[in-house]
Symmetry: C2
């Protein structure tokens, strides 16, 4: 499967869209917002460019895509004011895969620009927002054009399902699971880890050519606390997806073989792994590496399990539909998913 041509957060603004089901991702960005803004401030103090290049890698669609930009503009306004500098020109590079719903991001731009200009003298900042579609595991932007690179909730997605998961006959060595689980052989976690190493170092190498000397990055991604791959953080939610898909198999909606061959293109690295990879690749230095835990709140009248199910659906629907075809009933699948999460949570309490 060609991830670049298939994978996307569910577009539009409907009930199952990413736009409506990305409050968890927003919460995570908000939790580290102080780090992002401090980084921007330090960067501006040290370089103070006349034209500031900012990239958001994996911008997706929905309210999260542009809220960061507004915050950055405000911090730079304050900082340039303190320094008695004229406000720089802002070049904003929004990136995601070519299958992302850029149309809905672009349609919200006229209102975004209007709001930015409101209450500001001289017509507000000069800001040029563009969409740069493509995989961030490779070059995306011209040489030396960026001062600040941001990526939230994207780098845990691999460029592809690790090919080493499949044997010489193309059969998965991780049958019955969609990610590393208790029952996975050690070769499975090795295959995922190798794919992450390959992808993450290509990411760093590509960005190193695009960022100016002294530029900065803030990367927010899912990770795991210890060395064990099986935990309550990430693998638990993939485990529930495996079990939900198994119900669809038992109901005859999808073939057992289809499920056996389905694996997610995801990896949750540990902080050690990230540090080692950055060091090994050599283009960047780690300035600050923090692990934080986040939990989602359910909306009013909605169970915790349902909220998780909607989040997972918004990020997985494109891949599941592509792999399993039209026969699969997504409403039932994620209904089962939500119920199972609630049951597991009840057991823990």
């Amino acid at each position: 499967m060609d991830v670049e041509k298939v994978f996307h957060m569910t577009g539009g603004v409907g009930k199952t869209s990413y736009a409506q089901n990305s409050s968890l991702q927003k919460k995570a960005s908000d939790m580290v917002k102080h780090i992002t803004m401090e980084t921007i401030e330090e960067l501006y103090y040290s370089i103070a460019p006349k034209s500031l290049g900012i990239a958001d890698l994996g911008c997706s669609s929905g309210p999260n895509s542009l809220s960061l930009i507004k915050d950055i503009v405000e911090v730079v306004e304050e900082t340039s004011h303190k320094l008695f500098h004229p406000l720089p020109e802002f070049r904003v590079y929004l990136n995601d895969l070519p299958t992302n719903d850029f149309n809905s991001v672009f349609k919200s731009l006229p209102d975004f620009y209007r709001d930015l200009k409101k209450d500001r003298n001289e017509g507000g900042p000069a800001i040029f927002i563009a969409g740069y579609p493509g995989s961030f595991y490779g070059r995306l932007f011209p040489n030396n054009c960026l001062h600040f690179i941001y990526s939230s909730y994207s780098l845990h997605w691999l460029s592809k399902v690790p090919p080493a998961l499949y044997d010489e006959h193309g059969k998965s060595t991780n049958k019955g699971n969609v990610y590393i689980s208790e029952s996975s052989p050690p070769s499975v976690s090795q295959a995922y880890w190798n794919q992450f190493q390959e992808d993450f170092s290509l990411f760093l190498k590509s960005r190193s050519v695009e960022v100016v000397t002294g530029g900065r990055m803030v990367l927010i991604l899912l990770g795991r606390i210890g060395q064990d791959h099986v935990d309550r953080g990430n693998s638990f939610f993939w485990e529930i997806l495996s079990r939900s898909l198994a119900i669809s198999v038992s109901q005859g909606q999808i073939d057992r073989e289809k499920l056996d061959s389905y694996e997610v293109h995801f990896y949750a690295p540990s902080t050690n792994e990230i540090e080692d990879e950055v060091g090994r690749e050599g283009s960047f230095e780690v300035d600050r590496l923090e692990m934080f835990e986040i939990d989602r709140e359910a909306k009013d009248g909605e169970s915790y399990g349902t909220a998780v199910a909607m989040t997972v659906r918004a990020i997985q629907e494109s891949m599941i539909c592509n792999h399993f075809g039209d026969g699969i009933d997504l409403d039932t699948l994620f209904n089962n998913y939500g119920k199972m999460v609630d049951e597991e949570m009840a057991k823990q309490n």
Copy 2:
């Protein structure tokens, strides 16, 4: 009506899409392709930048959007080869209104990049293609980032319907017509001309800040041969649209008042008018100004009138739907349109 939020070529790849009904526009671009390519060549000889910025204003969606880029890359490859220069990095800025179907342009990018790399050594040119949504009647791009600006079949679209067409009660002074016609009072053509002047000079002023010294533009737009606004070139086709809409009124599909207030945001300048405006604004010099005539060929088994009707539908559907609402039957409207064009053509022969 806010043109920026409504107007777009019909998206997607369906039967009534712009992608399927823009062969006329392609033919026009092809007719002046030698001028475009000579301009690129001259530009590269005189500046030879390491990083070449190219903008396509009004890129729309469909096959036309990217075919120009491929041609430009090839000419620059040849020219840099002749000069023993390394190939520059290409920065491509695709612009259209935020309502344009950028998604379908972006989805075709992976194949476009793959084709570019085919048969080329060293992985092909470094090319970074971005979407910059917004009105070109205002700033779009960072300062001094462009070497070449191209716009085909876009600058005859005004930023808005000229407000001066409406009297103090908001009633159109051009009732029964959607553009300048035989029966329009002189104030109507004056209103259109003033709007064109305002828009075109803002266009030139905005671009002058974005283009580097020595940069070049190629602009292709509809125009008129003489000073008379009413001719067989443009106003004729709007006249047929007025008459087709009048049939929809007589059939009770739309209100007479709705038709009276409908005017297109279009202007076909003469070569003198363009020359005068460029001179008056002062940022650019006219190097070459040519008028050419173009006629469309019908597809197999389709009448000439039907072909014209499909072209007009693909460019007008968004505005007509927004103004007249869902009650209007577009199939019937453009069926009538096509028949009337065929009848008029038969009269001439």
